[in-house]
Symmetry: C2
Subunit: 314 residues, 2 copies
């Protein structure tokens, strides 16, 4: 409660926030640039590996991922994760200019909603971090509630991968999305942890052998989850429309990651009831925006047509 949410200037993690927003925009422009490069190369009859724009896109992707990684170190995960959505409207607008891909009326509304929801998220985000050092991170990791949650997630993953996925994977989009989203429980905290370890390595005394062991462990878990995520994303893209998949995936992934980071980092403890409610509203708005952009891409709807139709009232 109290005044925590409104003292904008002094407490907001401006640097982390800027990095988060900037890397979202970079990530959003990646595919547009790469596709432009591929199309350009095709018209000239050469490989896209010789195309400058394709390479710019690839470098952008690398920079975006590094930025995202840094953002998790400098700002709360409850802020960085949902802000990842900003790349989607940016990419759509860019695609409509660079690739001349038409953005329909629902897509435009979606872009507006994503931006508006992100502003609400930023206004109400937790202003101070609970975790700023490796030691704190290690302490939080042994929290029994988090360990219990981890066991639950592992159980669900086993169920999804070995039973539901072969049986229902091709019929229900939520199976593959479930696997990929639940893996976010590992990837995001691992990323944050590795970031903190890296920070410590630069600024403090050399870490103990115990810590090095944990660091390698985090790297291994991150590597595994990314590989499994990658495999199931591709399985999903084989059977379902990529735009629809990415919209539902964003909402499910972000929700599960927010729950996991809330349990691990307890970032919510510094958030008042009003800020919590407002962040929920902001997240709902961003999610709806993403759904409108992605799920209705193929619809041929323009505002002009809708408002022109002269129908008689019944």
């Amino acid at each position: 409660m109290s005044a925590a949410g409104m003292d904008f200037q002094p407490e907001l993690p401006v640097l982390g926030l800027s990095v988060a927003v900037f890397s979202s925009l970079l990530n959003g422009s990646t595919f547009v640039l790469q596709k432009k490069g591929i199309l350009r190369a095709r018209t000239r009859g050469v490989s896209y590996l010789t195309d400058l724009i394709w390479w710019i896109g690839t470098v952008t992707m690398a920079l975006g991922q590094i930025g995202n990684f840094l953002a998790y170190t400098a700002a709360p995960a409850v802020l960085v994760t949902p802000l990842g959505a900003l790349g989607i409207p940016f990419g759509s607008v860019l695609a409509s200019y660079v690739l001349k891909e038409k953005l329909n009326f629902l897509g435009k509304l979606g872009c507006l909603l994503s931006c508006v929801g992100s502003i609400i998220l930023i206004i109400h985000s937790p202003k101070s971090e609970n975790i700023t050092s490796r030691a704190e991170f290690e302490e939080k990791l042994s929290n029994p509630v988090f360990l219990g949650y981890l066991c639950f997630v592992l159980l669900m993953l086993t169920l999804l991968i070995f039973w539901l996925s072969p049986a229902y994977g091709k019929k229900n989009i939520m199976v593959y999305i479930g696997v990929c989203s639940l893996l976010g429980t590992f990837t995001v905290p691992c990323t944050k942890g590795i970031g903190l370890f890296a920070q410590d390595a630069f600024t403090k005394n050399p870490s103990s052998s115990n810590s090095t062991y944990l660091f390698l462990c985090l790297l291994a878990v991150l590597g595994c989850s990314i590989l499994i995520q990658f495999r199931y994303i591709n399985k999903a893209l084989e059977d379902y429309d990529s735009c629809i998949f990415s919209a539902i995936y964003y909402v499910t992934f972000t929700t599960i990651v927010l729950v996991a980071t809330a349990i691990l980092f307890q970032e919510w403890t510094k958030v008042g009831a009003i800020d919590f409610l407002a962040m929920l509203c902001g997240f709902t708005t961003v999610s709806t925006g993403v759904i409108l952009i992605q799920m209705f891409k193929e619809f041929n709807i323009s505002f002009r047509e809708l408002s022109k139709t002269p129908e008689k009232k019944e």
Copy 2:
């Protein structure tokens, strides 16, 4: 700026707010109840004037209008006007149960957005009123900026009614919507003024003859604007789809009324930059919700169908 936005409990006009929300819900259920009554009467082969539900609907309408009137007296107009949108999702959900009118996926998203946006509006609404008495209202009315704005609106109205409406009214939906929305510049401040006069009449000394004159003047202006509004709404409904009309009308009307009340009541002067930004976001979210509910009513879109379509990725 400061902490104004977050001290929820002590300053929020809870009574006015509750009345505003409650009367929006009443207004939203009016048409559903009346239509149910008409349909019920039709199946029994009697006039709907003998139907109980139709009468409940009509009483609800009267109560909703009185509630709306009271809300303008007890809460800032910048809050009451956009909250009027809450009736639309409520009416849609009610219609889907009572009238078995199907609410499609976009309609459901729209309902969610209207609620979420309203929460943001409420959280960031101005907590104290600039105008609480008749004397203050009279003072604000003679503000030269407001008088200038009134002249501008009158000029626009003359242009729209006598030139654009006959020439382009049947071709462009914005002409009739423009007339009805600009008239909101008169109706909402008049409603607020009449409410304050009524309040004064009950609590204070009898007003001077000058004030009585102003009161009658407000009543006359209110009556005229409602009549013209009524005429142009019906003109629009003859030529355009009612759902599409009501969606665009809500957005335009609310925007223009907010500008007019901002100039007249200067309610914005007590709102910080962050609250202003957040209210803008909330209003955008509510407007998008209304557009999604109303403009896409005829579309046959369900989440199940969208997510099931197994298309191969290119």
